[in-house]
């Protein structure tokens, strides 16, 4: 069972990591707590549902993040840019946005559950007679690639440098001639794209419906509360930790208990932490 817990935990953690990364980058760069982030996951899943019959599963997975990133770009230019560096305002505004996206999808696509077939069936043997679905392995690999990719992009690329500069001080970045609005829009689109990727990857494992985003938002926030907003490395580590803990309860018992236990432990960790958690930056 231990092997199964670890495997399941890592795959849960992978999804958490993909959704938490986007949240944490967006907060770090533009001080926006995006409560519509779960809806971007949902949009990614719907992109998968709608594109898969047209172009096939793998191209759909590649396209879904791009579609959601494009939506993110549009949303940033029309709404999010009025909410920069005002966390409270941003939470209320983006929750309004979340309702709007959810209802639009509900009106266009209807409330029924949608399903996508697994692009990869089959399982890998974990030894001890345990098997683990191949798709979950893909999930873990994808999260690691995305996490490392984002870290390299931030550390090495010219755009990454601009993103980091804006994170430290937007005013200075602006005065050095960087196109800060463009950096912000890029960061938001990348965050939305990551959420879209998460959505496309979980779509074959889960049913897809307009309200699905909330649970991903809550999961991502759990990670962010523990890791501190704005820290990528911590977000990845805590994603794995939360995933493992969830699986450790969910595999022998059930999901509801797992959620309660994980949140209780998270609150206890937060309450007992000696140092108050100050949001460290990217």
């Amino acid at each position: 069972m231990l092997v199964q817990i670890v495997a399941q935990g890592l795959s849960v953690g992978a999804v958490l990591a993909l959704s938490a990364l986007g949240l944490t980058i967006v907060y770090g760069v533009m001080g926006v707590v995006n409560l519509a982030h779960g809806e971007f996951v949902m949009l990614g899943a719907y992109a998968m549902v709608l594109l898969e019959p047209l172009v096939g599963a793998w191209p759909a997975i590649a396209l879904a993040p791009l579609v959601v990133a494009a939506i993110g770009l549009l949303v940033d230019r029309t709404l999010i840019r009025f909410l920069y560096h005002d966390p409270v305002k941003s939470m209320l505004g983006t929750f309004g946005l979340a309702i709007v996206i959810r209802q639009l999808v509900l009106i266009v696509e209807g409330p029924q559950l949608r399903y996508v077939g697994l692009p990869l069936t089959g399982a890998v043997s974990l030894g001890f007679g345990q098997e683990f679905p191949l798709w979950r392995v893909v999930l873990i690999v994808a999260a690691v690639i995305a996490g490392v990719g984002i870290a390299i992009w931030l550390a090495r690329s010219a755009t990454g440098l601009k993103v980091r500069t804006t994170t430290v001080d937007a005013a200075v970045a602006q005065s050095l001639g960087m196109n800060v609005p463009r950096v912000n829009a890029t960061a938001f689109a990348v965050g939305a794209g990551l959420a879209g990727l998460a959505g496309a990857l979980v779509a074959p494992l889960d049913s897809v419906y307009p309200d699905m985003g909330l649970s991903y938002l809550v999961g991502a926030f759990l990670v962010v509360i523990l890791a501190g907003l704005g820290s990528i490395r911590n977000a990845l580590l805590w994603s794995a930790g939360v995933g493992l803990l969830t699986a450790a309860v969910a595999v022998p018992a059930d999901d509801v208990l797992a959620q309660v236990v994980v949140w209780s432990i998270a609150l206890a960790i937060v309450a007992l932490r000696r140092q108050p958690l100050v949001a460290s930056r990217v």
Partner: protein, 355 residues
């Protein structure tokens, strides 16, 4: 609030049953507890810049507790008590406890139906607040943690069989069933009286020294701490008080609705409560009343015809209010009144100049 406004509002509330239909009075009786919920949120948001996405959990929790106590140990519709039938030791002890607790009555109203929700929601609020306010930037982490609390509460309530699970808790009698036969008007009067008490207490609190310290903790926590205030303790106690108030609101609500479901604990309802306040204008004394009445009336009138589009409109409204009118309807009314006053004054000093 000026005394004149208060008297006018009380008079309007007292005259309402004479003017309005029984149906409308029934709706008002249902909505007045929402105003108390909105006040509990305003205490945090309007006065201290703390946003809670989890107050629905306290509202629902209070509602469930009061509902169980109001109903008492329940024989079902066929007159057979399932708990006794199934011979499950656990549930009969539960019924015994319920019987004892609901036995403490004043004029046929189980007293603990108010006391327990306030006490237990307040206690949970103390725990949650104690955890939240240890973390750095409160304005970011309080909403995130309360969001989690709401989701957990909704999931747990949905699984708890003693409160009806996914069917919800139904068949709850009103508080006034022994005094006034539980008519719509009696429910309305009962809830209006509670609201008047809560509103008066809130108005007094805002003017008190404690109220000023509380507001100062929101305006500049660091400076207040430098002046020797234990800001974290103050905020934790304030959060607990707000949670207890939300529990009271839930307790009053089930007396009017006769029903409580796990959805109410969820984030969607908690956000609806925030929308009331956002539309009313957080920080203004009248905002909870104005916001609840405006949104609930709109929902009542429009949600049937518009269906899914109504929620869409609510989302758009939230965005518009946040971007365009952060002080809500009361703020807009205030600036409109000020503009009219300026116009009148200019007219008085320089006749014709205003045009």
């Amino acid at each position: 609030m000026k005394l004149r406004t208060a008297i006018a509002l009380l008079a309007a509330a007292a005259l309402a049953p004479l003017v309005l239909s029984d149906f409308t009075i029934g709706l008002l009786g249902l909505w007045l507890p929402f105003v108390i919920l909105a006040i509990s949120l305003d205490l945090l948001w309007g006065e201290n810049r703390i946003i809670s996405f989890g107050h629905g959990a306290f509202f629902a929790g209070g509602g469930y507790m009061a509902g169980l106590l109001l109903r008492g140990p329940q024989a079902d519709a066929t007159g057979v008590n399932y708990a006794l039938l199934s011979n499950g030791g656990g549930s009969t002890t539960f019924d015994d406890v319920l019987h004892t607790l609901s036995g403490i009555q004043v004029a046929g109203v189980p007293l603990l139906a108010f006391v327990l929700p306030v006490a237990i929601c307040g206690l949970v609020g103390l725990l949650v607040g104690g955890a939240v306010f240890r973390i750095g930037s409160v304005e970011i982490y309080a909403p995130l943690v309360t969001l989690g609390v709401g989701v957990i509460a909704a999931t747990v309530f949905l699984k708890l069989a003693v409160i009806g699970g996914s069917n919800g808790l139904s068949g709850i009698p009103p508080y006034t069933r022994r005094i006034a036969g539980g008519s719509q008007v009696s429910i309305y009067v009962f809830n209006a009286a509670w609201l008047a008490v809560v509103y008066a207490a809130y108005a007094v609190f805002r003017r008190s020294r404690l109220g000023r310290r509380w507001r100062a903790a929101g305006d500049d926590p660091i400076r207040l701490a430098a002046l020797g205030e234990d800001v974290r303790r103050l905020r934790t106690l304030g959060f607990a008080a707000s949670a207890g108030l939300a529990g009271l609101a839930g307790a009053l609500y089930v007396g009017a609705s006769g029903f409580m479901s796990a959805d109410t604990a969820g984030v969607v309802f908690s956000v609806q409560a925030l929308i009331w306040l956002a539309v009313g204008g957080p920080g203004a004394l009248l905002a909870p009343l104005v916001g609840v009445l405006a949104i609930q009336l709109g929902q009542h009138e429009l949600s049937e015809q518009l269906q899914d589009t109504w929620q869409l409109l609510l989302g758009v409204l939230l965005i518009v209010v946040v971007l365009g009118a952060p002080r809500g309807l009361t703020g807009l009314a205030g600036s409109a009144a000020a503009a009219v006053q300026r116009l009148v004054r200019r007219e008085a000093t320089h006749p014709g100049a205003a045009s």
